[in-house]
Amino acid sequence: MIDFELTANDRKLVDGLRAQALVARGYARYYDENEHEFPPDELEESKDFPTLGDLLEGRTDEDTPFGVAGMLIMAGQTWGDYSVRMRRPPGGLGNAALRAAGTPEQFAKWQNLTLAMAITEPGCGSDPSRVQMTAVRDGDEWILNGEKIFVTTGCRADGVIVWATIDKSAGRAGIKSFLVEKGAPGFVVSHKEKKLGIRADDTAAYVFTDCRVPFENLLGLDETIAKKSSGGFRGVMKTFNMTRPGVAAIGIGMAEAALDFTRDQLRAAGVEIEYGPGIHGQSAVTDKFIRMEALYEASLLTIWRAAWLSGEGQPNNMEASVCKAKAGAAVREITQGCIEILGPMGVSREHLLEKWFRDVRITDIYEGTGEIQRMIIARGLLGYTRAELN
């Protein structure tokens, strides 16, 4: 039955996360202004709070990380802060890739590592077919050479799933993904990026120089170069289908925080939001606020839609892009609008709104820009291949 109300179990989860999120807010500014430090996994004030496992107890969701419950977790945590997130679900983007593209044996072997994902290079981002990093087979090993940038969680991760080409002349079909553990000879974390927002979240740059990994570190163990299909891309696309709604949910959690903050400030100043009357019954401010709330709600529902399909085991390629594109634009408009309403209070670093405004800006960029999402959606609508629309 169509239903959008949270259950008692959902409430328990969201309320529990919010209690922790409020503690995290107390640290948000510090780690924003001390970019080089890593926020702790646990904070003193909340160390006796229920664990994520406690909060998830009694749920039957088969696919919590990517289903609707996963979205509640993402948004519930980032409602506090993007970077100071206690008891994050273990793993990174690389773990999702391992799940999608690895063999069952590979998954079993590495699933407990926190894995980053390294695709972007100094010369290629949205078009990964231009990957320059190479992998050359040498007996039972691969030799990796190249550079990777913008690697999320790249400093803290135990290892990385890295994209490299085994045959540049084969284009996309020649690109394969490899698991490289930290400490592999020739693998260096060269620096941590300085960013507009999500500052405490580490974003690394890697250099691989004659880095050797065992043959078995090729995800999927398939080194053949498919003639027509896009080979290794498929596994990664599956990864993004799974993670894009979560990325959208992270953004929407911060947008919700911005709306809540703005509503509270307006209320304290004697401005109540009253639903029902149209523009003749609203001030410019309340009308604007309600429109932003509608935009928030619309975005949230597209996220739930994509995640619900995932939980049902149904394909959600288009929906994952729809929610990522929608939320990517919405969270900017919402945080910009909240600043516009609150004026000086909105831009003061005394409050977190200006930080949310900076933090959410990443939503429309990473894991596929809004433009890439629109390309995917349009191809789906039009029945076009990559060659027909690019």
């Binding site: 149209g278 009308d287 619309a298 049902e312 729809v322 629109r374």
Partner: protein, 364 residues
Amino acid sequence: MISFKLTDEQEVVREAMRTFAGEVLRPLAHECDEASKLSEEALGQCWELGLVSTQIPEAFGGGGEPRSPITNVLVLEELAWGDAALAVAALAPAGFAFAVADQGTEDQKRRYLPLFGGDHYHAASLAVSEPGPTFDALLPRTVAEKRGEGFVLSGAKCFVPMADRASHFLVVARCDGDLGAFVVPRDADGLTVSEPEKNLGLRALPTGVLELEGVEVPAADRLGGEAGCDVRRIVAGSRTALGAVQVGVSRAVLEYAVPYAKEREAFDQAIAQKQGIAFKLADMHIEIESSRWLTWKAASRLEQGLDATPAAHFVRSYVAEKALWIADQGVQVLGGHGYIREHPVEMWYRNAGTLGALEGTLSV
């Protein structure tokens, strides 16, 4: 529990409506728009689907199916995809009937609901909109003044659907510092029903202006009796219904624009292969999805008996704007052909613009 799952029955209903809209409504839409006249036959066929009558309790002559705003938004999207004017006409009686079923006294149900249980279309309408530049559904200027045991209504209503034939109107008015809804029969003294209005879109839908000059309404015809009714709930039902109609129109636009853009070539390529067009289509799709889920959410709040006013407000402000934007983009994708009446897109553009200005014409 958060779920987008339709019941098996809803799947069947939606599929049946899709077929009906494609086979019966869509082929007539252009002709009816040009003639500013509904197809009475199609309206009759639509009624026979039982969209209103089945949800009237058995005790009052209906089919006794549970009231389901969710099923109704699914139905409305499909019908409106075929023809929005006919969709509004088909569900306009629901604006009256469902309000009585949901909020009427036993006496009111007994007197009015049997009108809607039969095999033939019966018109009775909500009267919410008002002429004048400052109209707001929840801030009406029409007044119901208490006099003796009853009320006296004064004011004017416009865009009242099926006004040419409605037997009764449910008039929303200010009353005692609050809002109320009052049943006014067509032949009430002091009530004048205008000739059909001429509107930008939904041209086939007959709408009219009601002038109420000291219309006396007995206490028994105040919806909900002495306790009154929740007008916000009536308005929320209407806003949700309009949202579903808008989503249907939007989908019609996109589904027309996509094959056109693949067919039409410019500079040695289908225009759909250019990002300028492809991204428009993608954005139209994104907004259709967003709008549909907002509408479903409002419907689900109504179905569960929860406060639906904020959710319906979001539908009202967001979906209306996006539906017009989508139709506008549809015209642009077709270029000159979008402006020519041979293609339906200009009609959808007018319809979307008109729907955005409506309140209280139908319900779920």
